[in-house]
Structures are given as structure tokens and as C-alpha cells.
Amino acid sequence: MIEGILIGLKTALSFQNLMMVMIGCFAGTIIGMLPGLGPMTAIALMIPITYGFDPATGLILMAGVYYGAVFGGSTSSILINAPGVPGTVATSFDGYPMAQQGKAGKALAIAAYSSFAGGTISAIFLLIAAPSLSKVSLSFRSPDYFGLMILGLTAVAAFSSKGNFLKAMMMCVLGLMLASVGQDTLSDIPRFTFNTMNLSDGISFVLVVMATFAMSEALTIIIKGNDPSKAAKQISLTDLGSIKVNKEETKQMAATIPRSSILGFIIGVLPGAGATIASFLAYGMERNFVKSEEKEKFGKGSVQGLSAPETANNAACSGSFVPLLTLGIPGSGTTAVMLGALLGFGIQPGPRLYETNPDIFWSVIMSMYIGMVVLLILNLPLIPYIARILAVPRTFLIPMILFFSVTGIYLMSFNNFDIFLMIGIAVIATILRLYDFPMPPLILAFVLGGLMEENLRRSLLISDGSWAFLWDRPLTLCIMMTILLIICWQIYSSLISRKI
């Protein structure tokens, strides 16, 4: 493992890659700060640029963007009470009241230190967990992988859809349908191409991500008449106060960070759960841990109330890389985008990645840690300047997002058809968003579609067409039982709340 860490450090610390981490963190912070635009949009906008780099550099850039976007989301939560990403909603509970008390700088510093600490602890967990799980997952077979993919989709649908399980499952199916367009991987038989050459290679992953996230988020902001810069005009973005944290506050954070890190990492590893659930659970857990007089401060600018969700959401980000790197199965929409990018580089993540491409495996892990350091050293002091991006009016912001989206596809294909297809998908996605149809399950399903079909094909051929492979092996049976449990729990909870 030490050798691997050194390989990773060597790759991640090369001048080019170090620059990429910095650029990624900076760009991610800016995009993540804009309300409505999260890490998925940030990564999606970067994908066309990364295809010009080698895989390690491209992935390092995207990892930097990911962490930068999460950090940027916290900043807008604290400063204008408009979380850039769902994972930072809990941050605003105590971060925004602190900012209102004239302690915006301190709130940002607490958030940054907590994120750094959470990221550091979870990076250590990732260093230990990823290689071990890689070895274990070598014993996984096609039925297990097929089961794990269904588990991932079901879990994302269950946890990311705010109670709209059926809507999320419909989005999963739509994602799988889009993934099935093009030639069959084994027989090369065209499917759903409608005799159009433009569809024979299938629909590009970048196109779908750009359309369903960057473009449709921009269109949603317009159709709803939201203006992210309005809230920013109400506060001074240049005078944020001191960023110094005193001894007592440090002591409070020291107690919160370890438990929130562990919780965040575990939640992050689970498919579908991710940073949002981790941050809310950590906030709730912390409230139960503190003394009653401290409990009263929650929601009014508590240090622990701010530190806990920030630590947990960063720890969950690292945790979400465990299933991606070791099993090749993303557990969240963001890691699904990363998987799509990896496949675009011709790299198949999974247990063998650890052996076949150790430089990529380790450099991604090490670059995450370097990204945290960059965020702490560079971004925190620069926040008063970066925060001015919040004041950019939507009249300029939206056309820029649309321009980058169209340009991204244009640079990849030089084809009008792809641009029109992207606009069409974006319009449909915008309508679906208006009615609370979640997009992350669609992306996850789109990315997993090919792999899922491949594993189902192998499983059915091995079992000669019998579906008994779903319960023949104890591991597959356990996975299927978990899926059933999630579905039953969803039905039960929807009957309780009478919303399905």
C-alpha cells in the first residue's frame, strides 16, 4: 500500500496535475457557489475539456472540481442562505445565522476547517478501505454485480427522491432506455436508431449529463424566474469579518469532527445515500450529543451545528468513491458522472483497477487530499473575492452556462444533430424538473445501463435462461433481500405519509 501511495503522490504532485487540482478547486468553487448549480453540473461542464488530457490528469481535475463545488455550495449556504447543492442545506441552519450576526468569515472558516478535517479522516478511511474492498470484490460474479447495480439504482431512487420513489424509478427506466439506444455491444445489431446514422453509436454520455444538468438547470432558473444574485445584493460580500477561530470554538469542533467523519464516511459508502443524508444525520446526531444549553443554540449560530454537517458531507464525498473505485458501481449521481468520464477514458473501474492502473487508482485518492489542502490554503483567504461571483446577474450567467454546454458537445462531435438532441433532452428534463422528477437516478441508470445489460447477459447465459441466479449464491441473495427491504420500506413509509 505504501508503494501505491507513493505512486499516487508522484502522479498527483507533478506540476501539471497540481495545477489541475488548483484549477479544478477554483472552478468548482465558483460553479458550486451558484445556487442551483451543483457538483454534477460543475463536473459535466469540465468533461469535454478533460478529454484532451491523460486519464489521471482528467480525473484529478474532476476530483478537484467535485471538492471545490461542495466547498462553494457551503459558501453560498452561509452567505446568502441559498445552498448551491442539497448536501449543504444543513450547513445553512447555523451558518447563515452566524453570517447574520456579522461572523460570516468565522462561519466560513469553521466550515472550511471542518470540511478539511472530515476530508482528511475519510481520506485515511478510503486509503484503508479501498484496497481491502478491491480484494474482496474480486470474488464477485456477474449475478452479484447485476444485483449490486439494481441495489444502487433502487437506493438512489429511494434516498434521493424526497419521497417520490415511483417518479425516481421512472427516471431510472428512462435512463436505461436512453442507454440502450445504438448498436448492441455483442451482436452489433442496431437498436432504436430509427435508421439514423447519428444514433448508431448511441447517445453520448456527456450530451445526456449536459442536457439534464447544466442546460436544464439553467432553463429551470429562467422559467421559474429565479435570480441567484438577488440574495447576494442584501449582504456585503467584501466585508465578511475575521476568519480566526478561538480556542473554545476549536475545542467544540474537535469533539464534533471525529464522530461526524465516521458517520459521513459510512453513509457515503452506502449506495444512494450520499452527502445530503450524511449532513442531515450528522446535524441530528450532534444535537443529541451536546449539552442542553448548547442544544438551544442550534439553528441560531452553533459552532457544532455548523461543523457537524460540513464534516459529514465532505467525509461522505470520499466515502462515495469507495464503491466507484472498488466495484465500478457509483453510489450517487456525482460519482455516476465520474464513472462515465472514466469509461470515456477507456478505463473500467472495479476491483482490477487497483492492479491494472494503480497510478490512476492512487493518484485520484491522493489528489482528493491535495484538493482539500488547496481549498484550505488558497480558497479560504480568497473567499471575499470569489464570493463576488454571487453578484453576477442571471442575464449573463445563464447564457454562459448554455454556451459552455453547447460548445462542449460541438467540440466533441462537430455535429448539429447532437446539439439538437441535447436541446430536446434539456427541454424535456426542464419540464420533468418542474414536477419534481429527480435527475440523478436517470444519470446513474444511463451510466450503468451497458454494464447492467452485460452482467444480466452473462448471468442468464450461465444459468441457461433461469432467473435462479438471483438467489443461488448467498451474496446475491443478500443483495436481493436488501433491494426488497428498501422497496418494502418505501411502500411502508409512503403509506404512512400517503405520498408515493
Binding site: M170, I189, I222, P399, R498
Partner: protein
């Protein structure tokens, strides 16, 4: 059963799934693959049924808290104008070239969204695109098709 927008979307999804299922059955597989446990149409057929199942459930089951969107608060005009601008942009980007079509797309988009400060509109369109093109084409050596600039002799 009360009809609302979500039910209509679910119904459209049901129809889409039914059409997908029909098209999946039409996929021509090799003769030796016809009776195989898995062929090119197996997975799409399951997907078609799954789509019909989930959307069917959504149509049939009661929606206790339907989403109410007041259309008067939605900015349809701006959104449609922006989408149309994008379509024109997509149609012209190859023929007119990247520089002119992108710059004009930005100018019209800023204007349609309500921006009237022409100084900023101009700065963030033509010069911005020129810098972007220089970074992409000149620094990162990414090919950009632009017949107009090629004709003038600015890019090779």
C-alpha cells in the same frame, strides 16, 4: 382519480414505454440467437415492461399532495426565446462558424433575458469569444471549425 400534470406526464411515459416495448419486439436478431436465453432484444423488452409498470402505478395510485404550479409565475416567453436562440445557434455553428454564431448567440441571449447595458453585452460576447477561441485553439490546440475566420485568414 384526479387528473393532474404528474398523471399526464406518467401517461405520456406509459405510452413511450409501450412504444419502446413495441420497437424492442421489432429488433431483428440473428436466426441462431432467436431462441437464446439472452439476445439483443431481451433487456429492452424487460425495460419496456418496467417502464409501463412504474408509470402505470403512478397513474393508478392516488396522488395525495399534487404539485401545483401557477403558470402565471413561469417565464415561458423568455424560456422559449432562449430555446429558439439555441436551436438557431446549433443550426448555424457549423456553417457560419464558431466565432460569429457564438458571439451573436450570447448577444441575443443577454438581450432576451433583459440585459440592456450594451457595453457589457459587447464585452461579454465578441471579445470574450475571441479570448475563449484563442485559449482553446491557440493554447490547448483544440480544433475549432470556423469557415468565416478561415476565409479571412485568421485561423488556419
Amino acid at each position: 382519480m384526479k387528473i393532474n400534470s404528474v398523471k399526464i406526464i406518467s401517461l405520456l411515459f406509459f405510452i413511450l414505454s409501450a412504444f419502446y416495448l413495441y420497437t424492442a419486439h421489432q429488433i431483428q436478431v440473428f436466426a441462431f440467437d432467436e431462441g437464446a436465453p439472452f439476445n439483443a432484444k431481451t433487456f429492452p423488452i424487460y425495460l419496456g415492461y418496467a417502464g409501463m409498470f412504474f408509470s402505470g402505478l403512478k397513474i393508478v395510485l392516488p396522488d395525495q399532495k399534487p404539485i401545483k404550479i401557477d403558470p402565471t409565475y413561469l417565464e415561458f416567453k423568455k424560456t422559449i426565446l432562449l430555446v429558439l436562440t439555441m436551436i438557431v445557434y446549433g443550426a448555424t455553428i457549423l456553417k457560419v462558424g464558431f466565432f460569429l454564431s457564438t458571439s451573436l448567440f450570447l448577444v441575443f441571449s443577454y438581450y432576451f433575458l433583459g440585459e440592456r447595458r450594451w457595453k457589457y453585452i459587447i464585452i461579454f460576447s465578441f471579445p470574450f469569444v475571441a479570448i475563449f477561441m484563442y485559449l482553446l485553439h491557440g493554447v490547448l490546440a483544440v480544433y475549432l471549425r470556423d469557415p468565416l475566420l478561415k476565409y479571412i485568414g485568421i485561423i488556419g
